[in-house]
């Protein structure tokens, strides 16, 4: 069972010190450029010259490689193999094995596609590793995101571990009174209701009390609320954001005119 439900690693680094919105723009910018660029090698170069340097700069290279091995590479590898074998692209045939006949084109296509997915998931992972969700939400609320959204995100992150613990307790309790969770398909499907029921009704009971509690703390008040933590937003952050927006627009333009 996970203790804390977030990828965040607390470090002292240039990436950690950036404003959360700048980091979000950076992550989205990398994704957009890798998907929109008309050049074949863009995603590969992005990994070498954007993703890996960023993880070094943010001192999260080890965690990033861990996530890479656990989440990213299995997905990307599966994608690469499936697409290389099954994309019906015409071209130079590499080999023939039964009904499989991958072509040079399909392998190249699969390679670019899998790399793009790697870039996308990597840039989100580095963003999550270096940004605390509370910081991001505080910053976005200060910029005008309604407080309710911040409440939903933050309280979900708190509820999920509790809920998972509750689910484990219910599974253990139902097993101890003899519920079959491991044999035939129909038995397993049948045991869904006694597991889901207590979990859902148990957690819905708390909803009403919590609604009254946060209403008493001025949840729906429209007054501007003050925040305990202030999040720095320097000129450097603004420069980074604007230059990323320019880069995205240039890539989009090159996509439209060059292809």
């Amino acid at each position: 069972m996970q203790e804390r439900l977030s990828f965040y690693k607390k470090r002292e680094s240039a990436v950690h010190r950036l404003n959360p919105l700048s980091k979000l723009t950076l992550a989205l910018g990398i994704v957009f450029v890798s998907f929109l660029s008309p050049y074949y090698w863009t995603p590969h170069l992005l990994i070498l010259f954007a993703v890996i340097p960023l993880s070094l700069l943010g001192k999260v290279l080890r965690e990033y490689i861990n996530a890479m091995l656990r989440l990213i590479l299995p997905t990307a590898g599966f994608l690469f193999i499936m697409q290389a074998l099954f994309q019906p692209l015409e071209g130079v045939e590499l080999f023939r094995f039964g009904f499989l006949h991958p072509t040079q084109e399909s392998v190249l296509f699969a390679f670019a596609n899998a790399t793009r997915i790697v870039v996308m998931v990597s840039s989100f992972t580095i963003f999550l590793l270096t940004t605390h969700p509370n910081e991001l939400m505080t910053d976005l609320t200060r910029r005008g995101l309604p407080g309710q959204f911040a409440y939903v995100i933050i309280s979900t992150l708190q509820i999920i571990p509790q809920m998972q613990a509750k689910a484990q307790t219910i599974i253990a309790a139902q097993r101890s009174r003899g519920l079959d969770t491991e044999s035939t398909f129909f038995k397993r499907a049948g045991s869904l209701i006694p597991l889901v029921g207590p979990l859902v009704f148990g957690s819905l009971v708390e909803v009403e009390e919590r609604a009254i509690a946060i209403e008493a703390r001025g949840f729906t008040s429209t007054r501007v609320k003050t925040s305990l933590n202030s999040i720095p937003d320097t000129n450097k952050d603004k420069l980074i954001r604007w230059s990323l927006i320019v880069i995205i627009i240039v890539t989009l333009a090159s996509r439209i005119w060059l292809s």
Binding site: I153, L192, L199, I214
Partner: protein, 255 residues
């Protein structure tokens, strides 16, 4: 190039319909009523329900996802927009905490919430067979919405197990869009009809007092009739829907 521009037209039409619906519910004030404090508190719980049940299903090794029961629940009792928001945030949080691969699929979750909310408003969430139809319509919506994401982002074959069906259809000479869409039509209905029925069972089990405090208690009223008979009708409806889906698949693959 002509195919891309045609799809862009569909995309713009879809966005326009959503914006019109959004403006309509905002202007009529229905939205303000739907997003009460209770709704805002219900949404995190529903997201946690999505994730917890998704994981129970993995533990039980069942061949479905069932990761949108909370979304459907909120959509029925608090309106389509609350449902759409629950779905979207659910995917974002799934991506931020468990697996970043979940991010790009958030439009699918958005539509699951929106469509089930609209169906519930139209009175299609009041007994077993109507719920089965709702589940089927939600499945169609999610198959249609996930197709462009799978095609443009992943090149057709995605990282899920059902890609083997897509791969097979590609080998038989189908176009990418047809192959992905028919895989969706094959896989989604089972999952979404089960989701809708479980959500209905949960709503039936809620106390009247609790439902009355939610923004749309009228959607959760259960129509009369012996539930045994209802269930048999529901099974009949599911069989009819499966035949209908098979007919549609034949059309897609044939044409």
């Amino acid at each position: 190039m002509s195919i891309i521009s045609e799809n862009a037209v569909y995309f713009i039409i879809a966005v326009a319909i959503i914006v019109i619906l959004l403006v309509w519910s905002y202007v009529t004030g229905r939205m303000r009523k739907d997003f009460s404090t209770t709704t805002w508190v219900l949404i995190p719980v529903a997201i946690a329900i999505n994730i917890a049940i998704g994981q129970i299903v993995v533990t039980l090794k069942l061949p479905v996802f069932l990761d949108s029961i909370g979304t459907v629940l909120v959509a029925v009792v608090a309106g389509p927009w609350a449902g759409a928001l629950t779905g979207t945030l659910s995917n974002i949080i799934w991506g931020a905490t468990i697996d970043p691969n979940a991010f790009p699929w958030f439009p699918v979750a958005f539509f699951i919430g929106l469509v089930s909310g609209l169906m519930a408003n139209a009175g299609w969430f009041k007994n077993w067979w109507k719920v089965a139809v709702t589940g089927f319509v939600v499945a169609l919506a999610s198959a249609i919405v996930s197709t462009p994401i799978a095609v443009y982002l992943y090149g057709g074959i995605t990282a899920s197990g059902s890609s083997f069906i897509t791969a097979y259809l590609l080998q038989t000479g189908q176009g990418v869009v047809q192959a992905v869409l028919s895989t969706g039509f094959l896989v989604e209905p089972v999952d979404k009809i089960t989701t809708a029925m479980l959500a209905f069972a949960i709503i039936q089990g809620l106390s009247k007092r609790f439902v009355a405090r939610l923004p749309r208690p009228e959607n959760a009223e259960v129509e009369g009739g012996a539930s045994q008979t209802q269930l048999f009708i529901a099974i009949g409806v599911v069989i009819l829907l499966v035949l209908f889906a098979a007919f549609m698949l034949g059309n897609i693959l044939g044409g």
